[in-house]
Symmetry: C2
Subunit: 110 residues, 2 copies
């Protein structure tokens, strides 16, 4: 229940926090990437296999963005052929339970 003041003005919603949250999950793919990786570690190729309908460009761009947002970590192994692994950062893991609940919202509106 949202508390109201005596003038019946709704409790202020923090638009800043909303927009920050929307940045994390915005677009067609970010939330999917986050939920897909979960507690695991993924290579570029594994994402491609799991999300075949997502283009390489989109995948590369979204991964880069999520790294910049400190949602994902990117680990490069000095091997030949190169190996790059992605996993959630601490912040990402903290957000995971909430983001998983969004699937319940999807279920609600079936």
């Amino acid at each position: 229940m949202v508390p109201k003041n005596r003038n019946n003005v709704p409790t202020p919603v923090d638009f800043t926090l909303i927009s920050k949250a929307l940045v994390i999950i915005s677009g067609k793919w970010r939330l999917t990437i986050i939920l897909l990786i979960g507690e695991d570690t993924f290579r570029f190729r594994q994402f491609r296999e799991q999300l075949p309908s997502m283009s390489e460009k989109m995948l590369a761009g979204e991964l880069k963005a999520l790294v910049a947002l400190d949602v994902l970590t990117r680990t490069v192994y000095a091997e030949v052929p190169p190996r790059v692994e992605y996993s959630l950062t601490k912040k990402g893991r903290l957000a995971l339970p909430i983001l998983r609940q969004l699937q319940q919202v999807g279920h609600l509106f079936n």
Copy 2:
């Protein structure tokens, strides 16, 4: 924690549910509208006052979409001048706690 099978394949993420959830909160305004209205009842004009940076067209369009999605109810009063009131549907109210938590996600990535 996500359970895995013995082949280390991650538990399937339900892409259908994700996309349905994303429809509900997609765009720059839907989540904001939902959180703003909360348990209250809003008139068109009140939205405009609370969200002055949102154009009328966007507001009208998003309200209509949210009504079609069964997130909002629209009640028209046969008065002159016309009065139209919006509030969350039962489903909308059920989703509200989860959607509110998204602000915590925004807070995490400050």
